[in-house]
């Protein structure tokens, strides 16, 4: 039995099939995440990584399969319901509110899940000092790296039990990639479970507990790397060759 189908998982997805009208993208994907675990999805463009993530968060309705989160079936539920259970996504396009301030963006992140909003916001500002300096600034006027910080900060405001990160380092300057990596490592120390889609293999392997390789909508390889580092070259070969 693959390790990700064991009981006591936070999330267990089985046999996920999904796609868009006329084009199937996922062909029976199994995926599980244990509490506090970081799972990385690797794969070439078009392999179905983002679709898999969007299926977990409800933006894509699965055609078949099941997703159990803390014992409840959530496959096919709308995104706002899934969010309220504690699965929070940082999307690839970030989807921030461009004409609201940093602080308003963050506060809206806590709107549906409640909690001590002020304390949560201060906590985010401690993790992202750069945002604290710009809390009254419109998000539209910020750099890509800063916007990514707002996006992650907004997700944290929702007190995620499971955080889904779609290409967190995508399109960022190297200095920001480093900063984002440090932030994700910090979230891992705080025992927040994560599923991360990431093109930057070095970054991905530095934070992953396990990785899955997707190819044409199927999982072709899964490996636990807590025991020992994986060979980067091997992985690149199994993704692209």
């Amino acid at each position: 039995m693959p390790e990700d189908l064991l009981p006591n998982q936070l999330l267990t997805a089985r046999g996920l099939e999904a796609g868009y009208p006329g084009k199937q993208i996922l062909f029976g994907v199994d995926l599980a995440v244990a509490p506090a675990e970081v799972v990385v999805l690797l794969g070439a463009n078009g392999s179905g990584k983002s679709t898999a993530l969007n299926t977990l968060s409800g933006f894509v309705r699965p055609w078949a399969g099941s997703i159990r989160f803390e014992g409840a079936e959530i496959a096919g539920r709308p995104p706002h319901r899934i969010f309220r259970r504690g699965i929070v996504q940082v999307s690839q396009a970030r989807d921030l509110f461009p004409d609201l301030t940093v602080e308003d963006n963050l506060r809206l992140g806590a709107w549906a899940r409640g909690g001590a909003v002020d304390a949560l916001a201060e906590d985010v500002f401690r993790s992202f000092p750069r945002l604290a300096e710009r809390r009254r600034q419109m998000v539209r006027l910020m750099s890509g790296g800063e916007q990514q910080m707002v996006a992650i900060g907004r997700a944290l405001m929702g007190r995620p039990k499971l955080l889904l990160l779609d290409e967190p380092s995508g399109g960022l300057a190297p200095v920001f990639v480093k900063e984002i990596a440090a932030i994700i490592a910090e979230l891992k120390r705080r025992a927040i479970a994560m599923v991360i889609v990431e093109q930057n293999i070095k970054l991905a392997l530095s934070i992953a507990d396990r990785f899955l390789i997707l190819r044409d909508g199927r999982v072709t390889q899964r490996q636990d790397i807590r025991a020992g580092a994986a060979d980067e070259q091997d992985i690149v070969r199994s993704i692209y060759l």
Binding site: P79, H80, D95, L96, F97, P98, L100, D104, L108
Partner: protein, 291 residues
Amino acid sequence: MLAVFLQLVVSGVATGMLYALVALSMTVGYRATTVVNFGHGDMVMAGAYAVFVFVGSGLPFAPALLLGLVVLFLFGLGTQRVLMRPIIAGPHLSLAMMALAIGYAVRGGARLEWGSEVTTLQRPYAQDAWMVGPVVFTTDDLVIATFVILLLLVLFLVFNVTPVGRLIRAVFQSQRGAALVGIDVHAFHGVMWGAGAALGAAGGVLLALIVPLSPDMGVWTLLRGFAAMTLGGFGSLHGAVIGGLILGVMEKLLGFYLSTVFIDITAYLITILVLLIRPSGLFGRQAAVRV
């Protein structure tokens, strides 16, 4: 001469207030859903008739008005839910056509019942008039102005000061972002569509104070609301208000000094000129309106 000019401005502002309210109610729906409700004029008409019916059934004016607004809110919410939501992922044009079709259906229904008669909504107050200097003010002017200004104040507070307003602006700026923070975007659209219909209905009731009721009054109304929105800048709340006021005053001035024809065509002219010269309007940032 000055007296005539002032009088024209005063009555232009009074009707402009109505246009402002209609444009504002369209803006509320548009901001929430990014769809222009081309059936909105018929919501305005339906609101006026709803209150007319409730008053006719013996209700005092205030409860009849309240009930009319509630009915139109529910109607807007219901049509959005049943007729718009299933096609919400489709092209914008289908949504605009659906809104138009809903409006036509409402108008058709009203024609069945009131197509051949001219009806009026009885004012719940006595009409009076005062001279202030050389200018005449009527009770209608004052009632309309007071009501619209109060509504504007409430709306501006809701949009700019309350958490609900922040939520509305957030959904307008990014629907996907709103869903990412757990907002039920579909339900939100329904509520805003209903709120737009109810506000439009309030405009319809005020309009019925100064013009007779007719099932076709929506066409006239939609055109002016649309022109006011275009002039002010699509999606801008204060733009809708200022656009409405300018349109009201221009109609009267052009109608008097050039030709009465302008009373009917100023709205078209403004729409055309603004789209040609400054598509973003006075206060809009987004230039293009997606239909």
